[in-house]
Structure formats: structure tokens, C-alpha cells
Symmetry: C2
Subunit: 415 residues, 2 copies
């Protein structure tokens, strides 16, 4: 994989020019893209800024985020060849930092569940996850040092874990969703994929103008962690639970304090209502597509929106109230358990075999609804070589703590 | 003015066809548009659905809301001739109800403060207000029975009051902003302009699938009202304060209970921080336009975004915290004062003379930030014939009560 920070160090040292750094990605794309299929479109003759804190960084942009110089096709024939006028806010920001949006990455149609053609670079025959399939795979295959994805259910954390890369879903609202094709305005959150935690932290610090998020400026200390298994939903697979245990043992050996935390009932309730909120809003967000192009929506999305038409406003209102109650209670959970972060699974298991499904988001949906920062860290592989990840979750707005704790785990588990 | 409900009654009774109803708007446009200049583009050969709860209703859509069949130009040369792929969610919903988006209405550039060419239909030589200038003016001039606008500061309530029409800004999130050009995601709210309160209520009930919002199904009762003057900001003009007093006297004569309510300090504080939140987000939302088309932004917006670049994340975070505190305190204010709604000014005075300014939003910004439902009701005119409005405000989510109280005021003050 290409490390953003490593590139930037070489550029700052004068041993690599921004143009050469971009060429590294171009060469890697030429080598790996035919096998992986992570990209939808590419800028074949990019202007490479000489200056800027992210000069030399080639970025992949999920194809539901607008770009002024590349098509934005939403993973859907309905938007074939579509050219937005402007860049999405986060893309514009990356450009201003000197980065080069080099390619659009594959997305499931409108970031829902109909699979893409992208292959898992780490294990042929397995899904890369979704919906940000291309963004996870492009980093995993070593083609790009930074990609943008989005998460409404589990579309950043899950594919990152499946592909063995770092995925970060920051606090809700920290990265603007302006210029993102909306699915659910209560849930949609932009996120980042990188080779390592420090890379994601550096990019996020620059993109948000918040140097405090940058790991390089931190003196971390030992995180206090609560281990959560979400007993209210179906059990995870043994390999994933074993990985979580390995992290726990390693962290305790290193001197960190960990204990089990059982989520109070309101969180189970909120978990169960994620779909009501998502679907009620998706029916509105995709109303034009549904009314005019129902047959081209994709099999799963089409059927899902059929059902979503029936979600009642009262059910939606009640669900928002429960979610709000859970959000208000979450800081107490951290305080009462005396923890900085939650440690949990990134996904119920490794990437499922085949390409019919993008996997399961049940360890992500609650946290998306809570709006809290989540980081998935690669923590080794199964016996058959499938990547596994664990997820670190902090309080809303406490992205810095999520980053430092994720970095702690990453350092512990480095293979 | 054209009443939406009156048209619908005639259509339901079979005395008017939807096609004929649309033709009424087309004829009125031919008559008044040359003088008013409220429209940017028009569908000259619309398909008119025969069925649907809003069949026969010609709608004007503020030109920062996407339309699949008409250009969407954001009031800016940067988007000259721009054609979105899809309809904004609210436009798609209106189409599904049988309404006809007949025209795009003028907006200040990106819904900020640089004036449009639109004239106040009620008084030549005065601004119609902004930013939803064309949507307010088109209803005021009797060209359209329903128009969509947006409010980030005071862009629905203010122009509605200046033009002598009903304007409603529903609770934050009640109408989706999907397909709206974002200025500030914490503040941007869609709203409606109509001839009367019942018209707005009916349209909102249908658009949101919430029949409880429809005034026709209500048995209102006498509202308990708290009169707010926002003592923490500059005094309003005498004519506006006199209009508020006239409403108070009329309401008391009718048997309603009114008393003065002074807002606690946190609301003054939140009022003062609206700009910090708006500007920090606008700098991100319009990053592409600012980076690539600074000279074409409009004089006021350009200068404003220059300054907005300097808003610090910490100031933004602190402002959001205050706003959240004020939002949480607002239900207590209603409860402690034993009131259903707040009665206040819609604007500091009637529409200012000339076209250099779109007027002042200081009686709107706090309520936009609070996310609460606001309705402005025309309550007569100044000696020189300039319309005056008063504003009714309810708790977040209590749009029905805002509507019934506004209808009460409207009935009292009908000229």
C-alpha cells in the first residue's frame, strides 16, 4: 500500500516531486486495476500542483461525490456520463490542499446494496464490501494513498475491514456532505480510506483545518477501552471474535485497561430503528429516480424503495426521538464505564465469498446513527488470508481520541 | 392572488380542469411578469396531469432547487444554463402529487444578499426582499398559487412579509433539502409561499404525507401566545411595532391570551452566533465556486466568503454548542410561559425603498437556527401601501400549532 505520510515526507525532503508521487499511483493503477476493477473513470492528464500540504497525493473519489472534471455516475445507468458543474465540498478542499483527484472509484448504485464489479484485492473470489467498494479496494491494492467514501449504514468501515485497510468515519458533520448524492441526510457521513491510521489523521486534520486531529502532534497515552459485542444482534463469526480477543490480550499486555461494556436497552432500540430513518429519508432523496427510472435502480434498491414508500411519518418521527435519546445517553455510557473509546468488531466476519453480497453492516449501523467517530484498523488475517479489522469508536466530536486509540491498536497488532 | 385551495375546490367540483387552472397562471404570468421580473425560466409547454391531489397547481421553484426539465442557475453566472439531471426531492414530490413546476423563480446569487432584478409587486420602487425574491413576488403578483423558497437567515419569512403573502418555514428537516444548493447545512430550510395560511397548510400536508398539518381537518381553539420583541437586537420600526400591537389588541378582543415574553440570555447569545455557523459552513459549501470563480460570485457574497475563510473551527464548534443549548431550552420557554406559540415581527419594518438591499433578517435568523416552524401572515399595510406581516413561531415539530395560530391571526386581520 502507498502511505500518504511517507509520500509527503519524501516530498518535503525533496527526494520526490509531487509529479513523481502521482506517477507512482499511475503506475500502480496500470499494474493492478485490470485485476481489481476499483475505478470508474480517471483523469489521464492531471495538473499536478507543486505546492500544498497534500501536493503529490493522488486521491480516489467515490462516484457518488461530484467532481467538476470527471463524470459522476452514482454506480447507476441513470447517471451514465453525468457531469456535475462543481466539485463536492471535500473534493474542492482536497484540490485546494494540492491533492489530485485522480480517479472516481466504484460505488454500489446510489451507495446501496447492489454489488459492484470490484474484486477484493486481498483475496480473489471475495467481495471487497460496499458501498464504497472501489475506495477500499484502490487503497488495498496500493493504487492510491487516499480515497473518499461515504457511510450511511456500514459503507466505510465494512469495506475497509474486508480489504485490510484503515477506514475512518469521522463525527457526523465534520466532513461536509455537500455535493454527495444524498441517501439519508440523518445518516450520510463522509469517510476516508488510507494505508495507516496516521495517514487518515493527517488528511482529516488538513481537510478540516483542525491540526489537533493530526497524530504527529500527539502524545497519546494508554487508552481506556470498553469492549462491546452488541449482544442484541446476531453473533459474529468465530474468526472475528478471536481477532477482537487477540487485540484485547495484546492491549492488556501493553498495559491498557479494557473491560466488557454491555450497551443499555436504548441502543438496541436505536439499532433496530436505523432502517426506518434511512428508508423514510431515502424514499424522499431518490424520489425522482424512483418515479422516473424505477426499472434501472438496481434489483435490491428498487425493491427496497418499493417497501420504503410505506414507512409512515409517525414511525420516522418516533425513531428519530429514540435515536436522539440514545445520542444523549452515549456520553454517560463513556463516563460511567470510565472509558475513552469503545472497541468492537468492524464486521461480523471477514469478507464473504462471492460477489452476490457486499456483506453485513450490523456492527456499523448503530454507530452511524449515533454520529460518532469510528476507525477500523487491520489486525491480521484468517487462516485463508482474509483481512480482519477491529473498530475503535469515540464520543461525538472526540475524533482525536478515536484516532489515537486506533493508532495504539494498529501499533500493537502490526504484523 | 391565486388561492391553491380555491383552485383545488373548483377542480374537485368539476368546474375547472387542471389544464385550465394552469392556464390561469400562464395568463397571469403574461400579464404581470414583465413588470415584476420574478421568473428566470419557464416551462412553456407543460404536461398537465389530470389526477393527483395537487393537479392543476402551477408551482414556482426557487432557482437554487434542481429541476430536471428547466435550468437551475443559482442566481449566478457561474451556473448559466446549467441543467441538473434530477429534480430536487421536493420538486419530485410535487410532481408526484400532480402539480406542475411551471417556472423557476429568481434568487439572489446562491441565496445570499446580492439583490435580484425582481420588483416588489405591491409597491414599485421597493425591494421584494430576498433571497427567495421571485417566489414571494410570483405569489404576490397573482402569477402562481404555490412557490418554493429556502431560508438560511430570513429568506422565506422576510420576502413573504415584504410582498404581502403567507410564507411558511416548516420545522428543520420536514421538507428535504436534497437537490438544493447548500449554503449552510445546519440552517438551510425549505419553505412555501401561498396566498393564505390554509393553502400553505394543505400543500405542506400533502408534500410531507402528514394530513394532521392540514388546516381543514382542524378544530383550532384559541391560541395562547407570547409576544417577543427580541430586545437584544436593534429596535424595529414604528410601523412594524404598531402592526404587532394591532394584532395583539385584535387577538385579545377575540378572547386569546397574550403576554410579553422576554427571551433568556442564551437566545441572545445564539442569535449572535448564527453568522459564525453559517459562514463556516458556507466557506465549505461554496469552496469550488470560491476557488475557481471568485470574481463572479457577486460583490457581497465574494467579500463575505473572503471573511468566512478565517472563521476558526473552534469558534464554529462553540457556536454549535450554544445553539444546541438554546434549542434544548426552547421547549421550557414555551412551557414556563404557558404558551403555544410566539408572536413576533416578520421583519424590522416594511420593504426598504430601492433595490440595493434585500432588507434585514434580524427577526428570522434566531428562529432558523432553532429549527422551529415559522409562519408570516400579512396584517395590512403602511400608509403608503407597503405590506406588513407578523410572524407566528411554534416548538420544533409543532408545525400544526404554528399553522392554526397563524390562521387565527390571518382570520382576525383579514382586510
Amino acid at each position: 500500500m502507498i502511505s500518504l505520510l511517507s509520500l509527503r515526507k519524501q516530498i518535503d525532503a525533496g527526494s520526490l516531486t509531487p509529479r513523481e508521487a502521482i506517477a507512482l499511483s499511475e503506475a500502480a493503477i496500470a499494474e493492478h486495476e485490470p485485476r481489481v476493477g476499483a475505478l470508474v473513470s480517471r483523469n489521464l492528464d492531471p495538473v499536478v500542483p507543486e505546492r500544498g500540504a497534500l501536493a503529490g497525493i493522488a486521491v480516489g473519489v467515490k462516484d457518488i461525490l461530484d467532481t467538476a472534471d470527471l463524470p459522476t455516475q452514482m454506480g447507476s445507468p441513470i447517471y451514465e456520463g453525468w457531469r456535475p458543474r462543481a466539485d463536492a465540498a471535500s473534493v474542492a478542499r482536497l484540490r485546494r490542499l494540492g491533492a489530485v483527484p485522480l480517479a472516481k472509484t466504484t460505488t454500489t448504485a446510489f451507495a446501496f446494496l447492489d454489488p459492484t464489479q470490484t474484486r477484493n484485492p486481498r483475496h480473489s473470489g471475495h467481495t471487497p464490501g460496499g458501498s464504497s467498494a472501489g475506495s477500499a479496494a484502490a487503497v488495498s491494492a496500493g493504487m492510491l494513498p487516499l480515497t473518499l467514501g461515504t457511510q450511511t449504514g456500514g459503507s466505510v468501515i465494512r469495506p475497509a475491514a474486508y480489504c485490510g485497510v484503515v477506514g475512518m468515519k469521522p463525527s457526523f458533520g465534520l466532513l461536509p456532505t455537500v455535493g454527495m448524492k444524498c441517501f439519508s441526510w440523518t445518516l450520510d457521513t463522509l469517510g476516508l480510506f488510507t494505508a495507516g491510521v496516521a495517514d487518515a489523521a493527517h488528511a482529516l486534520a488538513l481537510m478540516t483545518g483542525r491540526p489537533g486531529l493530526d497524530l504527529r502532534d500527539k502524545n497519546a497515552g494508554m487508552p481506556r477501552m470498553g469492549v462491546v459485542r452488541q449482544d442484541f444482534c446476531a453473533m459474529a463469526e468465530t474468526e472475528a471474535l478471536d481477532a477482537l480477543d487477540r487485540v484485547r490480550v495484546a492491549a492488556e499486555s501493553a498495559g491498557a485497561r479494557l473491560h466488557d461494556v454491555v450497551l443499555p436497552a436504548v441502543f438496541a432500540e436505536a439499532f433496530g430503528l436505523h432502517g426506518t430513518i434511512q428508508d423514510f429519508e431515502a424514499a424522499q432523496s431518490l424520489d425522482w429516480e424512483y418515479a422516473t427510472h424505477r426499472a434501472s435502480l438496481g434489483a435490491r434498491l428498487g425493491a427496497h424503495l418499493d417497501a420504503a414508500q410505506a414507512v409512515a411519518p409517525a414511525a420516522y418521527d418516533a425513531s428519530l426521538k429514540v435515536a436522539d435519546r440514545a445520542r444523549r445517553q452515549l456520553p454517560d455510557l463513556f463516563a460511567e464505564n470510565d472509558i475513552d473509546v469503545i472497541l468492537t468488531l468492524s464486521a461480523p466476519g471477514p469478507a464473504p465469498e462471492g460477489y452476490a453480497s457486499t456483506g453485513d453492516s450490523r456492527f456499523n449501523r448503530l454507530w452511524t446513527l449515533m454520529g460518532v467517530p469510528c476507525v477500523t484498523v487491520p489486525v491480521g488475517s484468517t487462516a485463508t488470508g482474509l483481512p480482519l479489522g477491529v473498530q475503535v469508536i469515540a464520543r461525538l466530536g472526540d475524533d482525536a481520541r478515536a484516532i489515537t486509540a486506533a493508532h495504539f491498536v494498529e501499533t500493537l497488532m502490526r504484523e
